[in-house]
C-alpha cells in the first residue's frame, strides 16, 4: 500500500515535469501555429546553464534558477525576435526546418562546450527531506515540483484569461490579421511569450536534472515527452497539456514497476491508446486544427 502511494507520488512528480515541458509547446502551437523542434534541446540548455551557475557560485541547483530563469527569458526573447519571427505565419515547413537546424546547432554546441559526458544537478539537502505521515514518507522535492507546476499553470492561465496581455494572446491565436488591425504588436508578443516559455522550461530543466542525469543529446527525448503531453491533452487546451503530462508521467512510473526497462514504453503505449480512442486528445474539442 505504502509503496503504491510512493510510486504514485513519483509518477506525479515526473508527470508534473512533463507538463512543464509541454506548456511551452502548447503555447507556441496554439498561438504562433509553430512547432519548435529545438524545444527539447532548449530544456537541456537550461540544465547546462544551471550546471555553469552552480559551478561558478557554489549555489544549489534550485538557487541557480535565480540567474538561469532570467537568462533563459533573454535567450527566448532574442531567439524569437531575431530568428523565429521570420517564419511565424509562413507555412509549417519553414519553422520546422529552422527549429530542426537550431536543434542540431544547440546539441553540437553543448557537446563542444560541455563534452558528451552525462551530468546531473545536486539539490543539496532538499532531495533527501521528506514528510513523515504515519509510516508513509513523502519527499519534499516531488511535492515542491508538483506545487511549482500547478502554480506555473495557474499563473499562465490567469495571465491568458484575465490580463490585457492574455487578450492579445488569444486574439492573435484566433486571427493574427485582425489582431494587428486592433493594434496588437504580434512580434513583440511572441518574443515575450517565448521568453516566458523558456523561463518555465528552465524551472522544469533544473528539477528534471536533479532527478535524471542528462547529456547534450538528451533533447529529442524531452521533446518527445513534451509532445506526447500536448497531444494527449488535446491541442489548444492549456490544462489538457497539464493532465496529459501527469498521465504520461504516471504511466511511465507504473510501467517501471512492471518492468524496470519499459517505463518509456508504457508511456508511449498509453499515448497510442488515447490517440486511437480520442484522436483530438482528452480535452481537445476536435474542431480546432
Amino acid at each position: 500500500m505504502i509503496s503504491i502511494v510512493e510510486t504514485l507520488m513519483s509518477g506525479v512528480m515526473l508527470g508534473a515535469l512533463y507538463a512543464l515541458f509541454g506548456l511551452g509547446l502548447s503555447l507556441s502551437l496554439g498561438v504562433m501555429r509553430m512547432i519548435n523542434i529545438a524545444h527539447g534541446d532548449l530544456i537541456v540548455l537550461g540544465a547546462y546553464l544551471a550546471v555553469l551557475v552552480t559551478g561558478r557560485t557554489g549555489w544549489s541547483a534550485l538557487a541557480s534558477l535565480l540567474i538561469v530563469m532570467p537568462l533563459m527569458f533573454a535567450v527566448g526573447w532574442l531567439m524569437q525576435s531575431l530568428m523565429l519571427n521570420r517564419v511565424v505565419g509562413r507555412d509549417a515547413m519553414a519553422s520546422l526546418l529552422l527549429t530542426f537546424g537550431l536543434s542540431i546547432v544547440l546539441q553540437n554546441l553543448l557537446q563542444e562546450i560541455f563534452t558528451a559526458n552525462t551530468r546531473s544537478l545536486e539539490a543539496g539537502d532538499l532531495a533527501l527531506m521528506s514528510f513523515q505521515i504515519g509510516s508513509l514518507s513523502i519527499g519534499v522535492l516531488p511535492l515542491a515540483t508538483a506545487a511549482a507546476t500547478v502554480a506555473v499553470y495557474a499563473l499562465t492561465g490567469a495571465l491568458v484569461a484575465r490580463t490585457h496581455w492574455g487578450r492579445q494572446v488569444r486574439a492573435v491565436a484566433d486571427d493574427p490579421g485582425a489582431a494587428r488591425l486592433v493594434g496588437v504588436n504580434d512580434r513583440r508578443l511572441f518574443a515575450a511569450m517565448t521568453g516566458l516559455v523558456l523561463a518555465a522550461i528552465s524551472l522544469a530543466a533544473v528539477l528534471y536534472g536533479i532527478r535524471t542525469p542528462f547529456s547534450p543529446s538528451a533533447g529529442p527525448e524531452r521533446l518527445l515527452f513534451a509532445f506526447e503531453a500536448v497531444v494527449l491533452g488535446g491541442l489548444g487546451s492549456l490544462w489538457g497539456t497539464f493532465f496529459g503530462g501527469l498521465i504520461l508521467g504516471l504511466a511511465q512510473v507504473l510501467g517501471q514497476q512492471i518492468n524496470t526497462g519499459l517505463g518509456a514504453f508504457f508511456g508511449h503505449l498509453v499515448f497510442l491508446v488515447v490517440l486511437i480512442a480520442r484522436p483530438q486528445g482528452l480535452f481537445g474539442n476536435g474542431s480546432k486544427p
Binding site: 484566433d174 486571427d175 486592433v182 504588436n185
Partner: protein, 230 residues
Amino acid sequence: MLCATRLSASYGLFQALFNVSLTVAPGETVALIGSNGAGKTTLLRSLAGALPTAWMSISLDGQSIGGSSEREQLRRGIALVPEGRRLFASLTVHENLLLAEHNGRPGNWSVMRVISELPTLANLLERPSTALSGGQQQIVAIARALVANPDYLLCDEVSLGLSPLAVDDVYALLAKVRRNGTAIVLVEQNVRRALAESDRYYCLRKGQLVLDGVSARADRHAIAQAYFGV
C-alpha cells in the same frame, strides 16, 4: 486630409491596384463602389497598413505614411473594420472592445460610451463574440474600431449578409460616428445606399479609378457604365 497618390498594391505577382489617387477630407464620408474584384478591399487594406505600399503613395495631412504597419496607422487615427467582421472568437464581446480600446488612442469614444450609446450591446457583453447575430457582430466590429478613436474609419462591406433591419442599425451607428466628426470611407455593394450615405464617391474597376464625383449629383447612367465598363 488622408490621401492616396498613385497608389499601387499587389498580392504576390498579382497586381490589384494601379495608380489610384483619392482624398478623404476630415469629417466627410466617401463611398467606394465597384464590382467584385475591383480593388475596393485592397484599397482599404492598403490605407490601413495591412498591405505593403510605397512610402510616398499614402499621406496624412501632408506627411507620407505609406508602408506603415497597422499599429502605426491606428496610432495616426486610421482604423479598419475588416470585411467579414472578424471578431475574436475566444474573447467575449466586452474583451473584444477592451482590447481595442487599450491599444487605441484616447478620445471621445470609450467602451463605456459605446455601451451607453448602444443599449442592446449591454446585455451581450459577456457573450462569446461568435454567439451573436450577424447584425450584432457587425455593430461590435464597428464599435471595436471606434473605441480606438480614429479620425478616419474605413468600413469594408459592413452590410454584407445582413437583414434590412440590421443594415439600418449599422448605418444608424455610422451616422453617430459622422456626427462625432469622424471621416468614413465606405465600401458598399448596394450602390444606391452607398450614394445615399456618402458625400462623395469613387468608382473602381479592375484596380483602377474610373469615376468620381459628388454623391448627391451622381449620374446613375455614368456610374453603371463605369461600374461595368460598357
